[in-house]
């Protein structure tokens, strides 16, 4: 294995590794525009120049393979001067419209300019004019003046999404990034090009002019869009509520996890935050008045009302059952507390999930067919995922044998015939809906309990492969909403069942002790990149 010395530090690396990767392992961060660990190496931008002994010229660190005994200097005046000149040339045609550019604040040009920039330009010539604010796809805007031709996006489309929409056209200083004629950047991973664009050439339409990036806070979380469980960071704007139309969750960005999604995420998942600040959110417990309208009420009143109905149905009779319809969109913690709840009170009519009528879209890369983030977790917790269980409860409801039915999250209309569903739900004596957003099913409910949405709570999801991954709370629950386990805690108190947990970590610790699949797991073990279930 070749031994390489970088800035006096030695490291042994395998063959084929380039200097920039070796430097990274030593903790030496070299500037880069075109180099991306997830893409092929082209050595396009040449900002990563380093001095290598016995080589007469400066070399690009990203494209130079390591050889045995190589001695690299990254901080010599010559190397610094080289990078400075490269940056000057990259900026020759850059329009410097940072004030209106959405990338400002997370722009590599700005960062490296502050570090190694040539502060007084030597250029007297006019800048080249190119296309501005070009609508190249459903989610992406292109400003080709700002482009430094690093080709990261081109390589992404060629290598990762394999859809080949983008290319570099014309020559010399007229070279320009554009989609191929009659093509639009329209694939299921198109916004990843915005993430990897080191400058403001590709910006996201959804985020366009919504907020400046330095107003945003980041919280690590998991995408709830499907059972893939892509790692994301939730960007929130909580201090300046006049930005982004008052939305608190402004955007999602993929977060690197070598085992799950690498650097990428799909466009469906990226916009899965939209229901969080939607007008369909339930912000307070609500009771249905006589005329079919809703009255906002307090938790005490609502919980008491639910408890009274359940108490009335106890002990369970054959024709007056209590049904629980859980959801694999709930976290492991919520499902665990719900399981305890059901066991203690003897509810055995438990269903989970709704199988959609049409087969949802999926692909071989990041988009899974199962659109629930925690199906595997629910299975590990012993929930019966079989469609027959839910059919059974549905039949009971239809046959007028349910005194109380508590539905979590789900819109049953996704899996059942709407007309038939209306009759079935209408036959339930007391229908309680617990969830963050209203839907068709919630309109049939008698009592609505607001649950916290996924960025509003702590917890874990288990992805399709059995990887338990952590959600962190990014924003406070909207209005009076609470995590499901806290709602169950309140309800349990009324029904004489104590839920001893104070926070999600307690529940997960208990989960690790009592459920074999989760044995030995706790939040420290799960950490940032997740941990696998046993077995």
């Amino acid at each position: 294995m070749p031994l390489i010395t970088i800035d006096g530090k030695q490291i042994e690396v395998e063959k084929g590794v380039t200097v920039i990767q070796a430097a990274e392992r030593l903790g030496i961060n070299l500037p880069r525009y075109c180099y991306h660990p997830g893409l092929s190496i082209v050595g396009q931008c040449r900002i990563c120049l380093v001095e290598i002994e016995k080589m007469p010229k400066l070399q690009v660190a990203c494209y130079t393979p390591v050889t045995d005994g190589m001695v690299v200097h990254t901080q010599t005046p010559k190397a610094m001067r080289g990078r400075k000149d490269v940056l000057e040339l990259l900026l020759v045609n850059h329009p410097l419209d940072c004030p209106v550019c959405d990338q400002a604040g997370e722009c590599y040009l700005q960062d490296y300019y502050m570090k190694i920039g040539q502060y007084d330009s030597k250029m007297v010539e006019d800048k080249n004019k190119k296309h501005k604010a070009l609508d190249i796809g459903p989610h992406v805007m292109l400003d080709s003046e700002r482009c430094i031709l690093c080709t990261r996006c081109v390589r992404f489309c060629n290598e990762v999404s394999k859809s080949n929409e983008l290319g570099i056209f014309n020559r010399g200083d007229h070279a320009e990034l554009l989609p191929y004629p009659d093509r639009r950047l329209d694939n299921n991973y198109s916004v990843n090009t915005v993430d990897i664009c080191p400058v403001g050439a590709l910006t996201e339409k959804d985020f366009r002019f919504e907020a400046r990036v330095w107003y945003l806070q980041q919280t690590d979380s998991i995408c709830p869009g499907c059972s893939m469980g892509c790692n994301v960071s939730v960007h929130t704007n909580t201090e300046r509520d006049h930005h982004a139309e008052g939305r608190r969750v402004v955007r999602l960005k993929p977060r690197y996890n070598a085992e799950v999604n690498k650097w990428w995420m799909c466009d469906f998942g990226r916009y899965s935050y939209q229901p969080v600040d939607d007008s369909s959110r339930i912000t307070a417990p609500m009771l249905k008045d006589g005329k079919g309208g809703w009255i906002e009420t307090s938790w005490e009143v609502a919980i008491e009302a639910v408890a009274a109905k359940i108490k009335k149905a106890l002990p369970l009779k054959k024709n007056a059952q209590v049904g629980i319809w859980a959801s694999p969109q709930m976290t492991n913690e919520d499902l665990f507390v719900l399981r305890q709840f059901n066991q203690k009170l003897g509810f055995n009519q438990v269903a989970i999930g709704v199988t959609p009528k049409e087969k949802p879209f999926s692909d071989e890369f990041l988009i899974k067919e199962d659109k629930n983030p925690n199906t595997r977790g629910a299975a590990a917790l012993g929930y019966n995922l079989d469609m027959e269980a839910s059919r059974g409860i549905y039949r009971l409801a239809f046959d007028n044998q349910l005194a109380v039915l508590i539905i979590f999250h789900h819109d049953l209309a996704a899996g059942f015939d709407p007309q038939h569903l209306a009759t079935a739900l209408g036959n339930v004596q007391t229908l309680v809906f617990v969830g963050p957003n209203r839907n068709t099913t919630s309109e049939f409910a008698h009592i609505l309990l607001p649950a916290a949405s996924w960025p509003e709570k702590e917890g874990t999801f288990t992805n399709f492969a059995g990887r338990v991954q952590r959600l962190h709370q990014a924003v406070a629950p909207l209005g009076d909403a609470r995590p499901e386990w806290q709602i169950l805690k309140l309800l349990g108190k009324e029904l004489g069942m104590s839920v001893p947990y104070l926070e999600a970590a307690d529940i997960f610790a208990a989960l690790g002790q009592s459920v074999p699949a989760f044995a030995g797991l706790n939040y420290e073990r799960v950490g940032n990149s997740g941990a696998m279930l046993k077995g």
Binding site: C98, P99, V100, A104, K132, A133, R208, F209, E210, R212, W214, Y215, R240, H242, H243
Partner: protein, 201 residues
Amino acid sequence: MNVHDKYKPLTFWERTYLPRIWDGLVITMHHFFRNLWHFILARFGVQREWKGAVTFQYPEIRRLFHPRLRTMHRLTKRDDGTPRCVACMMCETVCPAKCIYIVAGQRPEKEIEKVPVKFDIDLGMCVFCGYCVEACPEDAIRMDTGVIEMASYSRQSLILTKERLLSHVPHPEYYTMRKDLELAAKPVQLRTESEAGVEAH
């Protein structure tokens, strides 16, 4: 060295404080009688050159402002009358009082793609530090209207909207560097309220 060594000890008389109190009384009484005398002379029209007071009878007589004085904000315009502001939010970011609220919007023109849809300054919270003027990369906001009277009957009317900010005009004639002009009690013509951009209630 002991701090107290710097001061020489007080004598007995000084410790009674009476001489110092007397000195103070002499000064205030001197001013009292001199000014009273000047007032009386002026009242009977004997002379008008010595004044008994340095007071400017605001609002009838106004002093001119120093050019660097920060007065009420305004948004500058391009030649075509649109605001120069590009909603970059530098001022909102730098504002220590967090009294600037900008909502950005798009404009079809490719050259100026970002414009403010809303640009509110809450004068009730503004501390008149002038950082917004310093931070602006487009020279879009200035504090040279010469308007210093901002009292209002409601908090709502203290919020300057984009339209109000754009309607404000600079008043260079209110400013001067010349000491002699500044000290001459020269009446400045009063602006009407609409000119000053202050809404009547």
